[in-house]
């Protein structure tokens, strides 16, 4: 048998030129290689028929700008492969919990108030997540540069995943008929009108980044409210129907904030546009902050009514003070 | 009076792999006139009018549960319409659709 030989060949280079220009002579990560320098940047042939005031790729689709589009890189280093593999793995664990909840018929253990919380508060936000999906995928089209476009595209899939998880919860609460009732609540119940109004208005906000950050403002209240405050009480009271699955959404939110937080920091720290970006972010606070607060207060109010305790409302007031810039 | 036109060929091309072996066999069992051909890495199955892939048949061959959605892992391309895809079967044919308006 012939000996297995390897020919020793010195590579001429490690990676693509744009990647090397940024990272130097070390080996790139798969993320870097598939993200840096990918988006076309010049010589676009036609302007969009549906928006001739812009080029096909155009940094001026938003007032928030980066002088170096790759100053922001996803701290999670998600390229397509690592993203779907991560989500598939999480999905497997989640599926086990969901199956457990369903096979053990844990819906039967829900007391009236908890049933009301699940159906009337938590699951109704499946529509909020569906709206968040549209806001995120819009950003994926109009962002300048692949780092932001990819992160928002993945976020869009995540939001729909969340919406479908909540939908599964709704089915467990009582099938299609229950979902129909819950949808009616989304459309008409005062608890959900601030959220529905916010989403609809963000869908017509022309600046993709403003809409993304305004949405994030609402997330930063809703997620802690439901998946920390409410989840803690559920856990203490042994409401397994919720607390077996809630950590999945809480963990997702923590990870989501990692990249959005890094993006906000990149905007603020930008050597050329940092000050202007600061002004825009302050403007978003002013313009959309009250709407985000209204969403959280409405949800908190319903939670307190059902639990007979003013804790949620207080929690939101504290949180609003904390996240104020 | 009706004129009959010759049956139009429906086909699927699958990756030639261990994963697709059972599917190929199932298609052969459940479809009367299947024509099989090979190209590097690919197996093509063609049939006049219609091809059906049945979960039960695949499971019987594989000896384990099989989700029809696993078909996503082996399909490369197809010619025809996917007329149905549910938990029990996938049906590909050339069919005329009712005009909506």
């Amino acid at each position: 048998m012939a000996e297995l030989r390897q020919l020793v060949i010195e590579p001429k280079r490690r990676t693509y030129r744009h990647v090397e220009d940024r990272i130097g002579s070390r080996a790139p990560t798969r993320y870097e290689e598939a993200t840096i320098g990918v988006q076309p940047t010049e010589n676009f042939h036609y302007r969009p028929l549906w928006d001739p005031s812009h080029e096909l790729y155009d940094p001026s689709y938003s007032r928030l700008r980066l002088s170096d589009p790759e100053a922001f890189l996803d701290p999670r280093q998600f390229y397509y492969g690592s993203f779907v593999m991560n989500r598939a793995q999480r999905g497997e664990s989640l599926n086990q919990m969901v199956t457990l909840v369903q096979n053990r018929d844990l819906v039967q253990t829900l007391k009236y108030s908890w049933f009301g919380l699940m159906a009337g508060v938590v699951v109704a936000l499946r529509h909020y997540e569906a709206g968040a999906n549209l806001i995120s995928i819009n950003a994926a089209r109009f962002a300048w540069g692949t780092p932001i476009a990819a992160a928002t595209g993945f976020a869009a899939m995540d939001r729909l995943m969340n919406a479908q998880l909540l939908t599964e919860g709704g089915l467990t609460l009582g099938g299609k008929e229950r979902l129909a009732q819950i949808k009616l609540g989304w459309m008409e119940d005062p608890t959900h009108q601030p959220a529905r109004k916010l989403i609809e208005e963000l869908l017509v906000e022309p600046d993709w980044a403003v809409a993304l950050i305004a949405l994030d403002q609402a997330d930063r209240l809703i997620y802690p409210l439901l998946y920390e405050y409410l989840e803690t009480i559920a856990f203490e009271q042994g409401v397994l129907f919720f607390s077996l699955v809630a950590p999945f959404l809480r963990d997702w939110y923590v990870e989501q904030r990692k990249w959005i937080g890094a993006l906000e920091k990149a905007w603020r720290d930008d050597p050329e546009f940092g000050e202007a970006n600061d002004d825009v972010l302050a403007d978003i606070d002013q313009t959309w902050g009250p709407a985000a607060h209204a969403v959280a207060h409405a949800l908190a109010g319903r939670i307190d009514t059902l639990l007979g305790d003013p804790g949620a409302y207080r929690f939101i007031d504290e949180l609003i003070k904390k996240v104020q810039r | 009076m009706t004129t009959t036109s010759p049956p139009r060929t429906v086909s699927v091309e699958l990756q030639e792999s261990e994963a697709s072996g059972a599917v190929v066999e199932a298609i052969e069992r459940d479809n009367a006139h299947v024509d099989i051909s090979h190209m590097p890495g690919l197996v093509r199955l063609a049939s006049p009018h219609q091809l059906v892939i049945k979960r039960e048949t695949v499971e019987a061959i594989l000896g384990r549960d099989w989700d029809t959605q696993e078909f996503n892992l082996v399909i490369v391309t197809y010619s025809g319409n996917i007329a149905e895809w549910d938990e029990d079967q996938i049906v590909i044919n050339w069919q005329e659709r009712r005009r909506y308006r």
Binding site: M1, A2, E3, R5, L7, I9, K12, Y16, R17, A34, V38, P40, N43, H45, Y46, L49, W50, L56, Y79, Y80, G81, V84, A88, Q89, G91, L94, R126, E129, L134, I137, N138, R141, A150, G153, F154, M157, L160, M161, A163, Q164, T167, L171, R196, E200, E201, V204 | Q15, M39, P40, N72, V76, T77, I82, A83, E84, W85, D86, E96, R97, R101
Partner: protein, 507 residues
């Protein structure tokens, strides 16, 4: 009480359609502002059908499995230096064309389907578009990772970004996809989903993937097959778009017909690069352009799909007869153009070997020996005498498809096909009846395009001399460009193959 399990169909409905709602705080027309301006009428978005009916969770599950398998192959190919087992060093020039020409199209599709995932008027097509959007990112990124393997050892891969934005022949694919991106949502669906992903898809993917297989490139072949499983969803979307639009309103039929006419032709012209690859750039060829066109287009589409679409009032595309007439000459004329301008290409070209000329004769028995063989034999004699032919002139480019006028009139291979349109006092060159028809229909759109040749003439391409233009293109003289023979790639390949032989060969 145990939960009643929903059928796949019911599950799909609650997981997709039912998430949507009718807005009341803002006008629906403001939420979906682009669905009416093209004149398309949709009366019921619920009629949209998606047989795949994936949930996001199942999407992740199956796509993750595909990625795991693919990356295992890529890593193995890389670690075992399998590039040394390619059929020949010339082969990789086809993959340079893939990376620089096709990968940017995948990227553009990723960004554009994101637009459709936001702006189509119904939740079901928006979801299909969402999945396609990140599928296309998948294709782009897996291609970048696959070609990264070759980039380490060979020239013509590393500066793909700049080449893609600036090179004259890559304007063919760049302008194609930017034309689609700048169009309205329904036209872009006909352009990308129907025309490219259904009508012409096999003519794009089979050549590259089978070409890879036949030439020892299991990395690209595996990547291609893996991508193809996503393509079956994209094909389905493409066919569904057309049937949906045609069924929604009779008034849509002539609009869709016009788009079909335009996008068949634009897609067909972009495929000149593929024809060139199939017939000239694969050291081990597997199928000629003519064979591929006859099977995948004439037989499967003209003979299969279009009789089906006739039911809806759609006829085969305008100018199909020209494409059929051109099939004898398409690849030869394209490759010879690239050959003579190869001082300006970021990949190598070469004169075909005598064996390859014979293969071409056998595939084009009526025309090759009479029309094209003499051209190659002349080029071979020039190269052998040390005067390898480079055309130092500057060719105009078609204002629509960006290809220089290199094709001949159907039925007269001695006469170049060239058309002129006059608009607002200016003259615009197109290459054919097909492109002229496209230009005349939307002149305001096409006068925006600045062909790379125009750019050079207007002094916007680095300078007036060829070396300055080469530099502006991002090409390093003598490295990526010119003939394969004597190139760095050729020297590397020869040296490594010799070392393998001396080492006792690879088992």
């Amino acid at each position: 009480m145990k939960m009643k399990k929903l059928s796949l169909k019911e599950q799909y409905h609650v997981m997709t359609r039912d998430l949507d709602w009718e807005p009341s705080y803002v006008d629906r027309k403001r939420v979906y502002p682009y669905v009416e301006f093209e004149g398309i009428k949709v009366h019921d978005w619920e009629a949209w059908e998606d047989p795949f009916r994936l949930t996001v969770a199942s999407y992740f599950k199956y796509q993750a499995e595909k990625e795991r398998r693919l990356y295992a192959v890529l890593e193995s190919f890389d670690q075992s230096q399998s590039h040394l087992r390619l059929s020949d060093g010339r082969y990789l020039n086809g993959m340079k064309l893939f990376l620089t020409g096709l990968t940017p199209v995948e990227y553009a599709a990723y960004r554009h389907f994101a637009f459709l995932a936001r702006h189509l008027g119904g939740p079901a097509p928006r979801f299909s578009a969402l999945c396609q959007s990140i599928d296309e990112l998948r294709h782009c990124q897996t291609q970048l990772h696959t070609f990264s393997i070759f980039n380490k050892y060979y020239e013509g891969f590393d500066n793909y970004h700049q080449w893609g934005d600036r090179l004259w022949y890559l304007a063919v694919t760049k302008s194609y996809v930017e034309d689609a991106m700048s169009a309205g949502p329904f036209e872009s669906l006909v352009a990308l989903s129907f025309s490219l992903e259904y009508l012409l898809t096999n003519l794009v993917f089979v050549p590259f993937m089978s070409g890879a297989s036949f030439n020892g490139d299991s990395a690209s072949a595996t990547m291609g097959f893996s991508a193809q499983s996503d393509e079956s969803r994209h094909m389905t979307l493409g066919l569904e778009v057309v049937k949906f639009l045609l069924e929604q309103d009779e008034g849509n039929v002539p609009i869709v017909q016009d788009w079909l006419d335009k996008w068949f032709w634009r897609g067909y012209r972009a495929l000149a690069l593929v024809a060139n690859l199939m017939d000239y750039m694969l050291p081990t060829p597997f199928m000629s352009w003519k064979e591929g066109f006859e099977l995948y287009f004439e037989e499967q589409m003209m003979g299969g799909l279009f009789p089906d679409l006739e039911f809806y009032g759609l006829r085969p595309p305008r100018h199909v007869d020209i494409a059929i007439a051109e099939k004898e000459h398409y690849s030869h004329q394209t490759n010879f153009a690239l050959y003579q301008f190869s001082h300006l290409t970021a990949f190598h070209t070469w004169t075909p070997s005598p064996e390859h000329l014979d293969w071409l004769s056998s595939k084009y028995p009526q025309t090759f020996d009479a029309v094209h063989r003499p051209v190659w034999e002349k080029a071979m004699r020039a190269a052998e005498s040390g005067n390898r032919y480079y055309n130092m002139g500057l060719a105009p480019q078609c204002q629509v498809c960006m290809i220089p006028p290199i094709f001949t009139e159907p039925g007269d291979p001695t006469k170049l096909s060239l058309r002129i349109s006059e608009y607002k006092g200016n003259k615009y060159v197109t290459c054919s009846d097909g492109c002229k028809w496209i230009f005349d229909r939307e002149p305001e759109k096409y006068i925006q395009a600045r062909t790379p040749t125009d750019r050079v003439l207007q002094g916007l391409a680095g300078g007036p001399t060829i070396p300055e233009v080469v530099s502006w293109f991002g090409i390093t003289e003598g490295v990526e460009n010119r003939d394969y023979v004597g190139s760095g790639d050729h020297k590397s390949w020869t040296e490594w193959q010799q070392s393998l032989t001396l080492a006792g060969g690879q088992q």
